[in-house]
């Protein structure tokens, strides 16, 4: 080897080692802050109170129609990481009203859907970019997101803006309270309801189900594939969807994924097995195409008259059948055909709640916090705002005050939906919520596609959850 070549190779090797050292040190070397210090830092920052945030107020005005005094926020632009319509539609008027009243501006970033939101918010938190002043949060993400969010003391917020303490739904406040602080403000709630086609129940001569076995009977009797009608609607698309549906049955039958110590306990769990086998029986009456269905496909198929009865998200089914049925069936939709009922719960254990909320990231600009809290009042803090949100975003609300007579006229059965949402209970509180839903959903979809038995799935779920360190943690 010539001397020149040797020196070139040497230089390249030195450069590579240098890059490697720089890279590794940038990943590991700078992360030497002890965990306790981080926790303390997070807690200290999270102590920001509503009173402190109002110090920047420069001018006082009165909002027409209310006696609430608000500040001016001229020159402040709030960046809101959010979801598209119908979420945004619900806030659009309130944002405009806030901008007119306070002089502030809102830059609402509409992402395509919740997976994108989850990814973008977490990336933003972890990089401490401080890019957003408000972020839309699902309740399943609370344990993961909590260290990155400011804690808001609701009592102070309520006092300042004259919001009664019981303004928001009880279930939502319980869910979003961690320790003694409410970490987010809710704007939407969803639970799970049975939606049935009244016309099919009449056609096939069956009663509205009152128990789980009634539900199976309805699915079996209404199953008429030759006429394009399936008795049951499944959503077995791999991922979170089968988890959701399984969770309804597991909870309704009084079961749980975790034991009392918070560890996964699906193996040798008789209720978990019963719930899964019950679902397998229901799936025998489902369209085979439902192996690729998510909750959107499911509600579309109910509206289209292809499914007789389903157990699904209150929000989407309601949205579709009341407001925006798929174009191809819109002309034939009779809203009276599809009705929701509180699901038959053999043990009345309580239904699962899912909610959308708004949080204030820790890393956002300090001077924007007061403006963000003021914006939240305009979007969520009054019965008028809640009613507008419900009507415009077609079913999104977080206070029972929203369900007025005008709302009930436009959305039949909204009181059934609201009452069910008000008493629903939290999802498992685990920082690995997304991993848990994926692990369980994937194994369940294997069962429904015939790749494994129910017993094998439960063993596999336990194994995966344990390998991923999924556990329920104390909510404090």
């Amino acid at each position: 080897m010539s001397k020149n070549k040797k020196s070139t190779y040497f230089a390249v090797a030195v450069a590579m080692v240098f890059v490697m050292i720089c890279t590794l040190s940038s990943i590991i070397g700078c992360k030497t802050t002890p965990a306790e210090e981080i926790t303390t830092a997070v807690e200290t920052e999270a102590e920001t109170t509503v009173a402190e945030t109002t110090a920047a107020a420069t001018e006082v005005e009165t909002v027409a129609g209310t006696t609430t005094v608000v500040e001016r926020f001229d020159g402040i632009t709030l960046n809101w990481l959010g979801l598209p319509e119908p979420h945004y539609t619900g806030f659009e008027k309130a944002i405009k009203k806030w901008e007119d009243a306070t002089g502030g501006k809102v830059n609402y970033q509409k992402l395509n859907g919740w997976p994108e939101l989850y990814e973008k918010a977490l990336t933003s938190f972890q990089s401490k970019a401080g890019a957003f002043d408000l972020v839309t949060v699902s309740n399943g993400w609370f344990p993961t997101y909590a260290p990155f969010l400011r804690s808001i003391n609701l009592s102070e917020w309520s006092t300042k803006y004259n919001v009664p303490n019981d303004f928001f739904m009880e279930s939502l406040i319980k869910d979003a309270t961690i320790g003694s602080k409410l970490i987010v403000l809710p704007y939407n709630s969803e639970t799970y309801l049975v939606y049935y086609r009244q016309d099919y129940l009449e056609k096939y001569g069956v009663e509205i189900p009152k128990t789980m076995s009634d539900l199976l009977t309805v699915a079996q009797k209404c199953n008429d594939p030759d006429n394009g009608i399936y008795g049951w609607g499944g959503m077995a698309k791999t991922g979170i969807y089968p988890y959701w549906q399984y969770n309804y049955f597991l909870r309704a039958m009084g079961g749980n994924i975790f034991d009392e110590s918070g560890k996964p306990a699906m193996t040798d769990n008789q209720i978990a097995l019963d719930a899964l086998k019950f679902m397998q029986e229901l799936y025998k009456n489902a369209d085979p195409a439902c192996l690729n269905w998510d909750h959107f496909n499911l509600s579309d198929n109910v509206i289209a008259g292809k499914v007789a009865i389903v157990y699904t998200h209150s929000g989407w089914c309601h949205y579709n059948y009341c407001v925006a049925p798929p174009e191809d069936v819109a002309a034939n939709v009779d809203y009276e055909d599809t009705k929701p009922i509180v699901p038959p719960q053999d043990k009345q254990y309580g239904n699962s709640i899912q909610s959308w909320n708004i949080g204030l990231p820790l890393d956002s600009k300090e001077e924007n916090v007061a403006a963000a809290l003021s914006l939240l009042y305009y979007c969520l803090g009054t019965p008028e705002a809640q009613e507008t949100m419900l009507l415009d975003s077609t079913g999104y609300f977080s206070s029972l005050t929203a369900v007025t007579d005008a709302v009930k006229e436009k959305f039949p059965y909204m009181d059934v939906v609201a009452n069910a949402q008000n008493v629903a209970v939290s999802e498992p509180y685990t920082p690995q919520y997304m991993q848990m839903t994926e692990d369980i959903g994937t194994e369940l979809s294997k069962v429904f596609s015939g790749a494994q038995t129910a017993e094998e799935a439960l063993v596999a779920i336990d194994k995966k959850l344990n390998a991923d360190g999924v556990a329920v943690i104390p909510k404090e």
Partner: protein, 290 residues
């Protein structure tokens, strides 16, 4: 001499810096991440070095062997089918009986020009089980209507067919170009000596275009292993995990479950697999050149 060497290095500097920023640094960064426990619940300040923990975890995942075998089945099937159809169509287009060769080439190139995401949307509606055009046609002529993407035994095959539809044109393009470079004299001499058409193709044309075939195999194998967009659009990995391939699993781990450590570890495993296969191909390729 020294000045000219220094000048050469100076000219190379922007390219080298660019290369370091966009390739070398991210490569080492991701390699570093693959040795770290980093998931959605991790605050960046408390990342923990766990050695080969992520590699061991993804390799011991009960689904790993099934995902790897499905990736191999997908890759081998698509590459072989694309090659077979590509060679047959390229020979047909380049035969003396076909006029306006360029028109045919342009038509066959259309699938390749379509974005895989758009192709996914098109095929998803075409193969929809109830109202998809293909099933409507099959129903009208009295044939059974399969659940193309909802049947666990058929979903991978459907995915293979769509990928073959889209990328056979790549093979056609390259083989057509290679056929144009085949010298006419040996073919004419063989014909005069009474060799059959098959013997001419097998003994004269195929050896000449073999290097191009090797390149097609190499490129398509690498691409097939990395396939993501079509799976995302058509099946989402389902039903069950019947269309979960390695690249889709990486996406799920990294951008769905935010397990960055495991996702990068699996990415490096995928890279190693592609490297091994590529080096085997290249050995054959060199022999073919000789």
């Amino acid at each position: 001499m020294i000045r000219s060497r220094a000048f050469t290095l100076l000219l190379m500097l922007p390219a080298v810096v660019f290369l370091i920023i966009i390739i070398i640094y991210p490569m080492f960064f991701s390699l570093g991440v693959s040795f770290i426990k980093w998931d959605s619940a991790t605050i960046p300040e408390v990342l923990k070095f766990i050695g080969f923990g992520n590699y061991l975890k993804v390799l011991s995942d009960p689904d790993f062997s099934s995902i790897l075998s499905k990736s191999l089945i997908f890759t081998i099937s698509t590459v072989l089918l694309q090659l077979a159809f590509g060679i047959i169509i390229a020979i047909a287009i380049n035969s003396q009986y076909v006029k306006h060769r360029n028109i045919f080439i342009t038509i066959f190139l259309i699938p390749m020009a379509i974005s895989p995401t758009v192709a996914g949307v098109i095929w998803r509606s075409l193969l929809e089980s109830r109202n998809g055009l293909i099933n409507v046609f099959l129903r009208n002529i009295g044939l059974p209507t399969p659940f193309w993407f909802a049947n666990p035994n058929l979903a991978l095959t459907s995915l293979i067919l769509v990928d073959v539809w889209q990328w056979t044109s790549f093979t056609i393009l390259l083989i057509s170009a290679a056929l144009l470079g085949v010298p006419k004299e040996p073919i004419e001499a063989a014909s005069v000596d009474g060799a059959s058409v098959f013997r001419v193709y097998w003994n004269i044309i195929l050896p000449v275009i073999r290097p191009i075939i090797m390149i097609v195999i190499l490129l398509r194998t690498m691409e097939a292993f990395k396939l993501f967009d079509l799976i995302y659009m058509l099946t989402g990995g389902g039903p069950g995990v019947s269309t979960y391939l390695l690249s889709f699993k990486i996406y799920k781990l990294g951008l769905n479950n935010f397990k960055m450590g495991e996702a990068t570890a699996l990415s490096y495993i995928l890279n190693i697999i592609i490297l091994i296969i590529s080096s085997i191909y290249l050995r054959f390729f060199r022999k073919a050149i000789k």
